[in-house]
Amino acid sequence: MATGTALGAIAAEGLSKDYGGVWGLVNLNLEVQAGEVFGFLGPNGAGKTTTIRLLMGMLRPSRGSARIFGLDCQDQAVAIKRLVGYVPGELPDWGRLRGSEITAYLAGLRGGVDPGQVPDLCERLELDLGRRWREYSRGNKQKLALVLALMHRPELLILDEPTGGLDPLKQQVFYQLVRDARAAGTTVFLSSHVLAEVEHVCDRVGIVRAGRLVTVATLEQLRRLRAYQVQVEFAGRPPTEAVTAADGVEQVTVTGSRLSCLVRGGFAPLLEAIAGRPVVSLTSHEPSLEELFLDHYRDNGVAGPMPPGPAPVRPRPSAPRE
């Protein structure tokens, strides 16, 4: 079997998907190394699920190709799935089946499931397999999907927005499961639209928008990009010059006694700059992922030239998920 650290876990070349005139994904070139936890970030409708379903061989690419551990995602899909654990973006409807029956059914299809693994996962996620699928809450359905993805100790985990519906405590359990999997050498490809989620577990992050990969960054680069919108209301005239000169402070604007700016890194330089001035109020908020990354790359032209291909368009609401 073509596994091992020498090979890239995932490699996509010019991967594109046309949904009959609407491009869900355009010319994706991507490499994910074995043992890495890779976050795939983007807003709704960006192309995350399309990418994942192409990797899983559920969709046929319109152009390009993808390989997992050196195996072609279309021609060697069965061999690939022996190595992969998968959480789909949209959970299936198992109707009246019980969790235990669904687990037994998929374990039978897959084979080679460690008998001790399922109870261990259920214990950690506090999941009762005795209930019917229809009776499960959204969070419990997501937990079962995680159990099904992890029960055979896969070499690659492909997770499409895996924490949807999980409460914060269970999200922490999920992050720990991912860290454990990574420690055991598992590669993880995780899609999300939540910045904090990828910060918890990912080594590198790819950002996708309107079907195109905008950039790939390490977590460190990601943190450097992190910024806060700050507004300070002073009792008198704002110290504009001192604030503008402070490290990591950008886009300073003053309206009367109110000063607005963007702060990257830490808050210490800004606080030093306004020390001694009478502050009436200070508010700070984190811009949304889309505001932060996409505006940043668009404004600064950091992203490389757009790959050749059809003009990016947003998928129709009725078409394919992302």
Partner: protein
């Protein structure tokens, strides 16, 4: 456009498949039956009287199903008996499906929650559904009237328009009452499937309450509880018959009252819950996969999952076969004593009348059941794609070819169970009548049902791999067209080559004349080629699209 009108438009759109299918089938039955009057009943007064005697004799053993015929020597009486005696079954079945889907189906898909979240009160939402159904029923009633009038005209006769519209209105009122019953049944069930069973059993019971006394000879006082009793009080097309307006109005009022009752019940229960909820037994937490080894056995798991439904199919096949075989001797006697129609003369001339008729009724019915089973299975395959189950199966190391082959195997096993149950029950029923059936022919006839069902399943598999959303409509239309082609082909004496286009004809009459080998070979070839094409098309299919 107001929210109510938007909801009504969406309601009509959501039920359009059943609506259109029911309308086409009802229209075809009305048109064909009215047009076939001269060829079935005859053109001279003597022929028509002889046919009427024969129908009366034939109808006696099956009075538990159809009303006692009256005045069938006339076009009006014939249409009243055949069309308006049989259509209530079709429309009641549609009402059950539509009523249960309106509540449980919408609830299971999360649509009801969306409607209520949009600020539409529960009672108003149900009212919109009922109005949507009433509009659909009214159009079907009108279509049946037009089709019957057109059919009569094609056959050179004339049906009085007033009475025709009157009986169509009564039929629509009966359908509305059945819809109300289905709504109330759905409120008391916890799932769509349970609701369907409950409503089906309830309506079946009410039908028997009205029909059993016809054959038993005494009328129980509780008969008025059945809506079918009130429906049968109107027979305006029969000579000397009349339209019972109070009964028709009562049926419509019953429907409206039941819709209101369902609205009250809906407002008194939790969404997703039922009125009759059993308290779950306190059980320990389960952390292990189910130990039952069947869940790990591919096609057996699929069969095991639908074991209750399969049991239902087997029971229906058994009961129908037993009933039909039990009736065979009285029917043969009726035909032999009054051989009047061309169809009956042809049947009697084809060989041993018992074998010929048993083959015609028993295996004709089993063929229809097998076709409906194949249609249901194909619908399930299409649902697998829509609900994401197929995606999960394919996320395991399973080839798409294996998926198709396992479906074919599961279908084959289900068909075998149906064929065995139906044939065994038919054999038993015939035996109780002192009719001994040749074992060899019986086994061959049962075995030939398998390629017949598989060929339809193969067509469904091709559609599933190509466009899952059209699978049920496409295969259902194919089955309906083939069935009507055979039925009308015999009645209207259409050319043999035309009738042979029907897949129902390829099965032949194995009990009476032996296997028709070219037809059987075609069924086997279509099954093999169909599933091969299905494998290829599923390989090219984008899952979930």
């Amino acid at each position: 456009m107001s929210r109510g009108l938007v909801a009504l438009r969406i309601t009509l759109r959501q039920q359009r498949t059943g609506w259109v299918a029911c309308a086409l089938l009802s229209g075809a039955v009305a048109l064909g039956t009215a047009a076939s009057f001269p060829s079935v009943v005859g053109t001279t007064a003597e022929q028509q009287l002889a046919s009427a005697r024969q129908f009366a004799a034939l109808a006696k053993p099956i009075s538990v199903l159809l009303p006692i015929p009256a005045g069938v020597d006339t076009l009006g009486g014939y249409v009243q008996w055949r069309v308006f005696g049989g259509l209530p079954f079709l429309l009641a079945a549609w009402a059950v499906v539509a009523g249960v889907n309106a509540i449980r189906g919408e609830e299971e898909r999360g649509l009801l929650e969306q409607w209520l979240a949009a600020g539409i009160p529960r009672a108003r939402w149900l009212l919109v559904r009922a109005v949507g159904f009433a509009v659909a029923v009214a159009t079907i009633g009108l279509l049946v009237a037009v089709a019957a009038a057109a059919g009569a005209s094609l056959g050179g006769g004339l049906l009085p328009l007033g009475p025709l519209l009157g009986i169509c209105a009564t039929l629509a009122a009966l359908t509305l009452a059945c819809f109300g019953i289905a709504l109330v049944a759905a409120e008391t069930a916890s799932t769509r499937r349970t609701g369907l069973v409950l409503a089906g059993v309830w309506l079946g019971g009410l039908h028997l309450l009205n029909s059993v006394p016809r054959s038993a000879g005494h009328v129980p006082p509780s008969r008025w509880l059945s809506p079918f009793y009130w429906y049968e009080r109107s027979n305006p097309l029969t000579p000397g018959g009349h339209l019972d307006l109070p009964a028709t109005a009562g049926l419509a009022a019953t429907g409206i009252l039941l819709v209101g009752l369902a609205g009250v019940l809906l407002s008194r229960r939790d969404l997703g819950g039922s009125l009759l909820t059993l308290r779950p037994a306190g059980t320990a937490r389960v952390l292990e996969p189910a130990p039952n080894p069947v869940w790990r056995m591919g096609p057996l798991a699929a069969l095991y999952e639908q074991r209750l439904a399969l049991l239902g199919w087997v029971a229906v096949a058994g009961v129908l076969a037993l009933a039909l075989a039990s009736l065979i001797r009285p029917i043969v006697q009726a035909l032999q004593t009054t051989p009047a129609t061309r169809g009956s003369s042809r049947l009697l001339a084809a060989g041993d009348p018992t074998l010929v008729l048993l083959g015609y009724f028993l295996f004709g019915t089993l063929q229809l059941l097998v076709a409906l089973y194949a249609l249901t299975e194909a619908g399930r395959w299409a649902d697998d794609d829509r609900t994401g189950r197929l995606e999960m199966r394919l996320s395991a190391p399973v080839t798409r070819s294996r998926v198709v082959l396992e479906r074919a195997l599961a279908l084959l096993a289900g068909l075998a169970l149906l064929a065995v149950a139906g044939t065994a029950a038919g054999w038993l029923g015939a035996r109780t009548q002192g009719v001994r059936l040749p074992a060899g022919s019986l086994i061959v006839a049962a075995a030939a049902l398998l390629p017949f069902g598989l060929s339809l399943g193969a067509a469904g598999a091709v559609l599933t791999g190509w466009r899952p959303r059209v699978t049920q409509v496409g295969l259902g239309s194919l089955i309906a067209v083939c069935f009507l082609l055979l039925e009308f082909g015999i009645v209207f004496d259409w050319p043999a080559w035309l009738v042979r286009l029907s897949v129902f004809a390829w099965y032949g009459t194995p009990l009476a004349t032996g296997i028709w080998w070219p037809g059987l070979a075609a069924l086997v070839a279509i099954s093999a080629a169909g599933f091969a094409v299905a494998i290829a098309s599923l390989h090219r299919h984008d899952i979930g699209q």
